[in-house]
């Protein structure tokens, strides 16, 4: 009997065919979503309305990753949510199967292969790379060494006009009290190599916009990371007459989406030189504030946009002196919720609510500019739904539709023919003789000293 380890068990997972190798699961349980390149078998499984990612992997790695993802969640880091580990799997013929790590599928996430494809705008690429850099810096700030930094291990979500990157694979990750410079440099070097490989692969598959140069892209990541890290942690020294620079530094960090929890300020003996260095910075400056005021859980830039709208609502309604949380509640019931109520149910899978609101605000601004007067909120929403939203693809889940009766074969083909890691799932079973040899058998439970002695003799007499 399989064994489930989970903090929040989903009982609907229990009846799934755990005794079958993941690669052979029947299509009725699967959803064809794009996957990154992985050396493990990965499938998306559907139970009810929920979609989970399942990865078949050796036990200690499954447990290691499950715990790391939990820690990342606890520390409020953008990463996929771990659901559980299924161990003690036994196949129909009695063979043990590797455990399966289950994570929640990140809704509204966009696979990188579609994001860098033909026709992509260069500022979009910059935003994607920035999102990746912010993720890496956030992980490094909390002492997380990622190891296998790559696009395959990252998912992107829309975040107002930018993107937010989420970690989806923590297999090689490690937590440390604080990362050394060498460890951060190592992650950065891994990012360079892996992303370069991934861009070349997209290029080889005709999926990379020809205007993009893989070399330039990876160098951008390194440069941007160093700039951001310096802003987040660097020492700044200035004259005692420039005390406003303390406030300036904090504001710059806030603008980047970080709160300063501890700022180390030292002065020399006569107070003429000030030295400041942020010691503890927490990401999510805007999203935390929005969450506190409204309970809305959004990405950082979406939060920034919504907070701006809240601030202008406050000014427009002349309530600057009222408690901020009271005004926030009013804004929620008079602006945010009415706008979303106007979105037809069938469009709910196209974009996240906060993203809809952000895009509606953009739409309203352009329409108001054109009209020469402010378009009312609900009128703008109706226009946005009609002109823009209705024409967008569903992004909640980029699924190949489940089969109609008689189309099972096509559906199976679509699962195995998806553009990503599928190509490597199927391992041909042939042998070129390289893996067979005198040392074919793994050392088992016992140490075979006679074999080791024989080897030593062979090596000392190479002629024979």
């Amino acid at each position: 009997m399989p064994r489930f380890l989970s903090a929040h068990p989903d009982a609907r997972l229990l009846p799934l065919p755990w005794g079958t190798p993941l690669a052979e699961w029947p299509a009725e349980h699967l959803v064809a979503l794009p996957r990154g390149i992985s050396r493990h078998v990965v499938r998306f499984i559907r139970v009810g309305h929920e979609v989970y990612a399942a990865k078949e992997v050796v036990e200690h790695l499954a447990m290691h990753e499950y715990r790391l993802l939990h820690d990342l969640m606890r520390l409020n880091t953008p990463a996929v949510e771990p659901m559980g580990v299924v161990t003690k799997r036994i196949s129909a013929d009695g063979e043990p199967l590797d455990p399966i790590l289950i994570t929640k599928h990140l809704q509204f996430s966009l696979p990188y292969r579609t994001l860098f494809s033909k026709g992509v705008r260069s500022d979009t690429v910059t935003r994607l790379l920035d999102a990746m850099v912010v993720l890496l810096a956030r992980l490094h700030l909390i002492g997380f060494l990622w190891g296998d930094v790559s696009l395959s291990n990252t998912l992107f979500r829309r975040d107002a006009s930018d993107f937010a990157a989420h970690l989806v694979d923590a297999e090689t990750g490690e937590f440390h009290d604080q990362l050394s410079r060498g460890q951060r440099e190592h992650d950065l070097e891994m990012a360079r190599i892996n992303l370069f490989g991934e861009f070349l692969d997209l290029e080889a598959g005709g999926m990379l916009d020809s205007a993009l140069d893989p070399q330039e892209l990876v160098e951008t990541i390194v440069t941007r990371y160093r700039e951001l890290w310096h802003e987040l942690t660097g020492v700044e020294e200035f004259d005692g007459s420039q005390m406003h620079r303390i406030e300036g530094r904090v504001r710059r960090l806030n603008a980047l989406g970080f709160d300063v929890a501890e700022l180390d300020i030292t002065t020399d003996i006569d107070g003429s030189t000030i030295r400041i260095q942020p010691k503890v910075v927490d990401a999510g400056h805007h999203s935390r504030r929005l969450m506190r005021l409204t309970g809305l859980d959004t990405e950082e830039n979406q939060a920034r946009r919504l907070l701006n709208d809240l601030d202008s609502y406050r000014a427009r309604t002349g309530q600057q002196n009222l408690d901020e949380s009271v005004v926030a509640h009013q804004w929620l019931t008079e602006c945010f919720e009415p706008v979303l109520h106007l979105v037809p149910r069938e469009y709910a899978s196209k974009l996240e609510p906060a993203q809809v609101y952000h895009e509606m605000l953009d739409y309203r601004w352009y329409r108001s500019e054109a009209a020469g007067h402010e378009i009312p909120l609900l009128e703008a929403t109706q226009g946005y739904v009609r002109d823009i939203l209705s024409k967008l693809p569903d992004e909640e889940l980029s699924v190949v539709r489940p089969p109609e009766p008689g189309q099972q074969r096509d559906y199976l083909a679509s699962i195995s023919a998806e553009p990503d890691a599928d190509d490597l799932d199927d391992v041909p079973n042939f042998d070129d003789g390289w893996e067979t040899g005198e040392e074919e058998d793994l050392p088992q439970e016992y140490l075979d000293m006679s074999a080791i002695r024989a080897r030593a003799v062979r090596r000392s007499t190479p002629d024979q």
Partner: protein
Amino acid sequence: MASVSYRDATRVYPGSDHAAVSELNLEIADGEFMVLVGPSGSGKSTALRMLAGLEEVTSGSVWIGDQDVTHLPPKDREIAMVFQNYALYPHMTVADNMGFALKMQNVPTEERNARVLEAAKLLGLEDYLDRKPKALSGGQRQRVAMGRAIVREPEVFLMDEPLSNLDAKLRVSTRTQIASLQTRLGITTVYVTHDQIEAMTLGDRVAVLEDGVLQQVDSPIALYDTPHNLFVASFIGSPSMNLLTGPTVEGGVQLGDWVVPVPREVLDRADPVAGVTLGVRPELLTLAEDDRGIAMTVAVVEELGSDSYLYGTPAAGILSSRQESGQLVARIAARRTPQRGDRLRLVVAPSDVHVFDNRSGLRIS
């Protein structure tokens, strides 16, 4: 290629009063396959990471060839962490999968192709260079991942528990590949594992660490035949060495009603109060021809080809508290296999007994 040298290399984690690696002195020769082995927390991975540049060196230094690399960033150290990125890119050929990192370093095409071809020949992949990874077997894919490290022509290969993350099938082929690569390339390799059998099977020499301190570095045979201390004696070997204690008497050490002969000059080296521990490898115990020897009742018989392992409990007080299994084990030729429940006596030739001082734990024989 190059030698590697740890010189009093120490790593103390911030906030810790205990060194994760303490004054490590280790010389690894050019082309040598060195395995660092030890239990969890022994400092083996930290030592490897100090060489890789991932852990800062608190004091002492680390050298690659004649260069002090203690403060160099990882990418400037001419090292390659093998099996660090396994991902094969499905749209790229085997050749491109192996050589893409050279492209990033702006290595000219001609040289890149030459290095890829050379690595492919070493790895038996030259006939597959134009293929896509899809058309490769699992073992061949692993070799492509190794090829990535080889084409970079590093001074040193580093491998951190490379087998532990693989499924059983790939583990077999990968271990064989690593062994073959060592023979064919002769490149300096530092390999970390917690598995002493893996260490003994792969290493030219094996460095045993415990609690951040190097216990012994030697060839597998020397580690097995002459362990320097009780830790190495009990850590190396599977089943592990029997560790026995008893009072020192005239002519040897008393084990139950049998006195194991130990020369006087050996016993004189021991702490007179703490006494000695005797170590005996299971395969060097034999069934007694008469009523002399360590008396034991057989609890478990495990047959293994031409030999059998006998497990049992001898008289109280004979087994050292270090013997975690709590049982004596002997490897006996199968044609004479006793049965479970049999009472028998086991003897050992005096020359096959290892003697350790209980106070220092050091070998004195």
